[in-house]
Symmetry: D2
Subunit: 356 residues, 4 copies
């Protein structure tokens, strides 16, 4: 691969638009364009930002409809792939469309592709969180593997926290309880839940999903989840038991030194998600994104010398964005050192290590 | 004590108005009246229901203000106590006022009093959930003890579920995670939280509060809690480990046979709190109250042969109402059999064993 | 028609289940049964209440599915109609299904039918609010007309308020602004909007819908509407201009004397919908229903001698219930006096004239 | 005044922190620092941004408390004023504190001060919206007047829209209905309303407040308002009657040519506040601010040739920010042309004229 990696973003939604911006900020990547199928303000906003817009599907009627709505469609995604103009597609289409795109397009044109957490592990056979298994991705890519799945925002957050723990201590058992946001803010006009709590099946799919990344690093791992009646940031509780004695100081140090985790403190007035979201906005990055996982430092509690309780917030719209960038580097082998990629991404995105 | 127990309800709020109605339904009790200090629609509603209204505080200005607002105040709470017209006061004043009333009034006039979960255990030195420790209350009452505390809605729900488990199996360890409603519906016009999740300190006070009732029945017990952005029903997750092998069937049977617990099923379309609340309203009891704790039967999950996961809903406005009624019987010794009191209360309140 | 009117309820949802209960309370009607197509807790609840359950559609597979879920299906709606066992069907099927049922069933079997506000005026060619046009319904029924549409909860509330005004004063112009609840509480687990306000098209359909009932009683009538992020009770603002001088006292008297309207007062602490909903629950009718329209008495404001501002709450789940009962009487001609029907219904449902 | 205007921001809250950032972006102003009294994350964030922090009150204990929390307090606000280091204080203290600060500090030290919408008109005797009455502010300032009040976000939005109308057409009468956000997002952890609608008194104070800026430009002006259960952006309905015939095209042109107004379109998928908020975030300005008032272009409706209905969104956290900047220029006489100040501010803040 000569020069910059040519990246095409397919699916300009909540995650896709952020990945597009993030790729455009990297000096070793070039954003070829963004592909979508709708004609509303969302795609007009892509155009306003100067991105070249393609139609995700090859049906000329759809391209025509987008043009009639005032979108300058430069062609179809398939045209681009046929021309070999793309090294990696980031597929941020709605859940379940990724596997269809893979079969219809990415397999056919032999292009590399990165999927998001709405797709199954089997679609990519490689699930990724940079600080956990960048090397696994490198190895697979060196063997010719072309696909990678960025896990969901919740799984990404959990993997980062667990990695801080299992890379320093013998973790025996972990339980997670998630209070999920009901829907993304942008979908609030048409969707969501109201004045309720809605549990997932017990146990939830989050623990098995974490295992697609960390494999057997935590032998006994289960999760439970509910949807809460709010639109931003998931809330996470962790209850982790170790096969050794640990101190609160040990755990705090492990978390502090881990990339893409940060601390907040209820004693500073950060008493809930609303405060963290306001802090996120005050930081000043576009859309109020922070990419990192805030953990309540003063809530970290050690019980009985070998168990720790942790509460964290998961910025669901944006914590996976740096993972997409790192996955491009791993999959294209342009950066063979995990830490260097993470560092490069952190700097390009200005990911804050300290929030306030 | 000859004839019916004379009960005075002090604090006609969310809990108080329900206790008043419940006492009025018992054939071994007489509701002498309700006392409050405000002059708004809430007290006018008490009058509309035919209750005699007293002023909670002895300041004549306050009585005057209530009368000016159109309330027929029959006198003050202190007048009643001085006359010996009351056997038991149920103190449903706002959290923290109970202990003040105790010192100023109940101690002074030697009247029996029942406090609610907003008061500390130490105020009553007896915390109560009928099916767990009716006999403890009886013993103390026989020894002349005059006070009892009904624990909070959350603690009451947890005690019922734990009792079903520890009275059948050897329970080693339990963890609870609560997603609390933010405020009562009636307070929605002026209070609450919005579009957020707010954690309590970790660990939360709920586990220690449970221990005031079940004492050492569960040796290793911790809890975590958040406020969610909804107004009705708390949501509870339980993770319980046994010192023995158990089956899912065992656990279901234990829960099914326990009073004041009931099952719902996501396969019947009961997928969240909103469905349970609608069922509660459809049952047809006043205010949509059900008094019992709905547990998702199909979510009950056994892990590794000795651990069970349980999800439940806690009807925060009303699950403690029958406990108040039973506590009156225990404290006044008019019913010395726990099961008979529970049965009597269940029938008078029409507490449903099956919801649909 | 000899004896009681035989009524079948088709569509046991938010409105349907209330209509069923209301019909069952009338001494001149008999509820033959309720028909639906689903198999979940909702229909099980109908069975729990003792209603005979029918399948709304004639497909035997559907009946079978309901039976498999444990519902004792007594037959199909069509069977009942074929047998002439029903005088009036109340069609509370989801919006748009009523017209299909009319064409497939009610036309075919010549049965009388009452539709709800989700259907168009043209489906029934008679839109109904008892205190506005009971006589119009009588006249049409005497001419052999078999169909009637109960207008939506919002339109019903507006018609009652406007009737109080135009039957006493010369109304020249009215503007309504509605802040609608987003979805019904029962649908909160799966639907709704979150943390937003969503306007309808401007102007909204409510004013034209009001005209299907009050015809030209208000010559210049427009409305605007938004969905708010709450689940119970719509909020209404009215701005009405008269062709004559009026006083605040005049307007208050007109509203006070009108059936199915009631007053609340912010000075009594009734500052928002939450307080009204709590009052509704405290009244003690099933599901907290009140059937009447609360108007803020102290907010009634006269401007410039010929204009009045009014704020009201609309109990969206239940204000149309008495209209369904009255419509049965009008359509079957069993009661030819509007006031007697309204009075009879009010008494059977215990509709409160004063809330507190 | 030589060189840049020296500005001190007092009250680093939702409005204050934005005004600080906006002032820091102007080439004719210098932000001397920000003053506050709290010690939590909010003030730490000011420090993180590089602002010099002062203590708003002169009590040394308070300064000490801030220092103990890790804030480098550079002194007190009063020290600064005594030294003559400040030309203009922007007082963004909580509602009602402005008038106290005026009496205790600004009067005493003869400093110019700008207040926000939480203060009464009488505190400043000059209420300001740049495009409506910049010249009035200039005239008063030339006469030695030192105070100015930026009106509330709602009043500012209304004044901009009304100015577009009354400066082109003869406006006879206007009615506004506001669906206000309940509280700011940052306060969601501790405050707000839940699942309700709460009306203000009828009529609301908004219309009189508008008149403090536009005086008698609209002879017959009334408003009504409710709080809705959402945290961002107010929603506005306008019903305006003219003393002349107007066309939809006329109104659209007038609104389009007015500064700090912009159009959105439901046909582009912008169906509610959530979409507008997402667009705001996508624009990419800090905190997702847009400063301008989005109006639904396709909802603009003309009735009867002389009446128009308009629906708009009011970005409550930030629409007043440019007004603060312009008010500094008017009050200090550094820019005597309203349009030039508005233009300068628009460019410095990058206020978008088109959103997508």
């Amino acid at each position: 691969m000569n020069g910059k990696v040519k990246v095409l973003l397919n699916g300009y939604g909540v995650i896709g638009k952020r990945v597009a911006d993030a790729v455009a900020l990297q000096d070793d990547m070039e954003l070829v364009g963004v592909a979508d199928v709708v004609s509303d303000w969302r795609v007009k906003m892509a155009q306003r930002k100067g991105y070249t817009v393609y139609c995700s599907i090859s049906d000329p009627k759809r391209t025509e409809a987008m043009k009639e709505a005032g979108i300058n469609v430069a062609g179809t995604l398939e045209d681009l792939l046929r021309q070999g103009a793309v090294d990696v597609v980031i597929d941020c289409a709605p859940a379940g469309f990724g596997v269809k795109n893979k079969e219809a397009l990415y397999d056919k044109y032999g292009v590399k592709a990165i999927f998001e957490g709405g797709e199954k592990h089997e679609t990519a056979n490689l699930s990724f969180v940079a600080q956990c298994n960048y090397n696994e991705a490198l190895e697979k890519a060196e063997g010719g593997h072309r696909y990678c799945r960025i896990v969901s925002c919740n799984t990404t957050a959990a993997c980062r926290i667990f990695h801080a723990l299992y890379s320093h201590f013998k973790v025996k058992r972990a339980r997670m309880v998630l209070v999920r946001r009901a829907t993304d803010p942008v979908k609030g006009d048409t969707g969501g839940i109201m004045n309720t709590v809605v549990p997932s099946h017990l146990p939830s799919h989050h623990a098995p999903d974490v295992k697609t990344v960390i494999h057997d690093a935590i032998p006994d791992l289960y999760s439970a989840a509910v949807k809460g009646s709010h639109t931003m940031y998931h809330f996470h509780f962790y209850d982790v038991i170790f096969d050794q004695t640990i101190t609160r100081e040990d755990v705090i140090n492990a978390l502090r030194n881990e990339p893409r985790l940060t601390f907040v403190n209820s004693k500073d007035g950060v008493i809930g998600l609303a405060a963290i979201i306001e802090i996120s906005r005050d930081i000043g990055l576009p859309r109020g994104d922070i990419y990192t996982i805030p953990i309540w430092e003063d809530f970290i509690t050690v019980i009985g010398g070998n168990e720790v309780l942790i509460a964290a917030a998961c910025p669901n719209e944006n914590d996976v964005i740096p993972e997409n960038v790192d996955a491009i580097r791993a999959l294209t082998l342009i950066e063979k050192d995990a830490n260097r990629s993470i560092q490069k991404t952190n700097e390009a995105l200005k990911i804050p290590k300290v929030l306030y």
